[in-house]
Symmetry: C2
Subunit: 111 residues, 2 copies
Amino acid sequence: MKRLPKTFGCPVELSVQVLGGKWKPVILARLKDGPLRYGELRRLIPQISDKVLTERLADLQQAGLVERDADGGGGYGLSMRGASLRPVLQSLYDWGTAQAGEMGAVIRAGR
Amino acid sequence: MKRLPKTFGCPVELSVQVLGGKWKPVILARLKDGPLRYGELRRLIPQISDKVLTERLADLQQAGLVERDADGGGGYGLSMRGASLRPVLQSLYDWGTAQAGEMGAVIRAGR
């Protein structure tokens, strides 16, 4: 597991550093309901390029949040540590859902 | 309120776009417990520059998440919409707190 021997001003700063960036929370949220193969992730997040998806999956594995699926299927799934993010991912999902209408944003039907 | 007439692949993408960046969730988390004056925010988040704190507070006001304190104190506080982020901010706080020890990170005593 990657260590961050660093001082943070508050716990939220640490969380944001680990989760930071545009795509990591989106990828993790997709894996929240179960492991997915690379091609499935690619299809569910079509705006992400292959290069960026590959890089972010490597980042997430290095951070100990995502593991290759152990059953030999070759997919990606949340590690135990990644699973501890469920409350964060769920609250981001719920807030986005509630705000979409209010903000005039459209969420494409997914999954 | 700023509108995002845009299509998102999932609700988490919308949330990340609104909250995105290193400092917005940190500022919002500091305001979660009540309004603060600019100087108090500055002291609680010493790593942020004046330029960036001023810009992020403007962004957060434009997004309708933060309001100037109505009691004339001149501070900043969460709007109703900002307050709807409490579950997100709390889950980020809780996860950061739980992970700090495991990751060898130190959270400075604050507030």
